[in-house]
Amino acid sequence: MAANSLHAANKMKFKKSAAPSREKTIQLRSFLLQIKNKSDKLINYFLVSYFIAGIILAYFYDTWMVAAGIGGLSLIAYYSTKWILPYSNLYQYVLSGVFGIFMAQYIYQMHGLFEMHFVAFIGSAILITYQDWKLQIPLVLIVVVHHAVFGYLQYMGVSEVYFTQLEYMDLQTFIIHVVLAAIIFFICGLWAHHFKEYSERHIEQTFKMGRLQEEKLQKEVLLAMSESLQTMNEQLIEAQQMAHIGSWMWDIKNNQVHRSQEFYRIFDRTPAELDSRYESFLYCLHPDDRKDVEKTISNCLNNRIPFTFEARVIIPGKPSKTIFAQGKTIEDSSGNLTRLHGTIQDITGRKTYEEALEKSNTELRKSNQELDKFVYSVSHDLRAPLLSMQGLVDITEEETIEELTRENMLMLRGSIRRLDTFIADILNYSRNARMEIKNVTIDFTEVLNHITNDLQYMNQSSKKVDITTSVNQNSTFCSDNGRLCIVLNNLISNAIRYHNPKADNPFVRIMVNSNEKNATIEIEDNGIGIPEQFHQKVFDMFYRVSENSTGSGLGLYIVKETLSKLKGEIMVDSQPGRGTKFTLTIPNIFYQ
């Protein structure tokens, strides 16, 4: 990239210096045009002044016709030429002639007043403004012709011809007159020429200076460019070093692979050890990976699609490295495959880390499974004698008619149930904390049937609690079934346990409304209710509303903890003596 930019910059420089003369000519022309326009403007005033001067002179010898006629014709000649041929400088020659005519006109008007001859010099001086010595020629010609013709005619004594009023106008005087006039015309021509040369030189100098400045600027830009390129290159090398990414570019036709510094560093080889052929790169790879890499790259070349692969690099005398490579094809302007370029990244560290992570994950999973087994074994061993006791209580209760024994058995059964629930709670708590979320599609009707069936055993008190469920599920719902069961089981068994014995028809109403976004579950009862001041506390660990409550104080804590794993929410609305309503919102994982 650096070479390309420099090359382009050089080209630019050559292009600039290729046509300096043309540019100079253009600049000179535009300068002369400026002078011409400025002079033309001035000429307008001069010509008008000439004409007016002619009118004034007409007072002396009543030469009105001459003043208006010859002056007018002169103006017409000048302006018409200028109008017809605006791009030619013919009108300037006409102007020069017009100045000669005006001189002749004034001399005539003033009946040969000698001072009128000076008018020719005024014209000659004015013409310097155009910086063109040739403009003096028409003026000189007219002056010469006029002097020769009129001087001769007057000398011959022709009347009505006025050339001079001087009586001593002899040949000697005439010669002096001619020489002086010639000198003036010559000087004016010379000045015009000098001015022109001076302008040209000035322009050339300005142009030269401009070019020098431009070159200097160009040099500065080039320097800045190459400096920033150098900085960029250094930054690139540094970035590659830090990211452990090396870059490469393979010129397929010449089988030349250009590789960055970091590429060689990753391969732990010098450019001499790893030559620029593509095959030598393949040779560095682990033999088991070589075939796959070759296949991947040839697939990339054939189908012109980007590729990625992971491979091991063999480094003599050192542990091998793992690289991650990616690349793509480059086509020239006519669509031919010319190059392949891309990067390689040293992912040895990441790979080792991934493997270590995988190993520790496996270990963790194993210890989790062991812990799971342990928890179940403990819970089983705790429950087994408890359930034996319950069996004995069942028998004793059935066999005796003695009131006291029956009452005692009832209390014993209550205690057993309480301990059993506690064990189940602890089991659920430990499962919720450890188990991974396992999302499955959920049929709420089925789930609720299962739970209410299981809870029938505790729903056998003197007053049976009426359990009704209504499910409105019109889309697939996904969540963790095990956790959902824990939550619902806890809430529904609570509703049964804390029913109001004084109520006529104790009930639990479960309503499920599930849509694509979430499921809203309402569990409502007309049980004993919870005083408002405890609403916030019921979800706390080991919190029990009253000493009479038979729960462990874990149930609602587990509900809340489990729900938080499901990213759900719970709200409680309850009044003592009226009943309790729990409202759950559980997000639908299926549509997320």
């Binding site: 819970s379 087994a384 359930l387 034996s388 069942d394 028998i395």
Partner: protein, 151 residues
Amino acid sequence: MEANLFMFDKVMIVDDTKIDRYVASFAMKKNKFTREILEFDMATKAIAFLENNQHLPENLPQIIILDIRMPEMDGFQFLERMSLLPQSIKKSCCIIMLSSSLDPSDHNRAESNPVVKKFINKPLNKGSLEEIRNLYISSMGDTQESRVSNA
């Protein structure tokens, strides 16, 4: 015709816990569930009994109530050993698993085994006995001439 009063002729119970066997036997006797109860405190002994009587169908139980967690040979190992016995035994015996385990993997394992008809939680009581009876009628009723029909 005392036999006609019982739902079943023979029920085998395999459980290492004496109290649980006692409770189960009591409930069965009380509810006239079976004429004879075959009690085994070890699964190995129960398997030995089945093996010895495999050619004597009149000695085999219609129902086997099987605990899961037992020393030496547990309920699942018992099932594996039983699968090696002739088809006739497996067909005539209805196996019910009875446990205090809350481990869902136990439940799944038991219910996925084709010879296990039901997983029942301890303790065995009148309700669960009724459940077993209904299950037996519905599953065995069509294929086998049941002695229950006499009752």
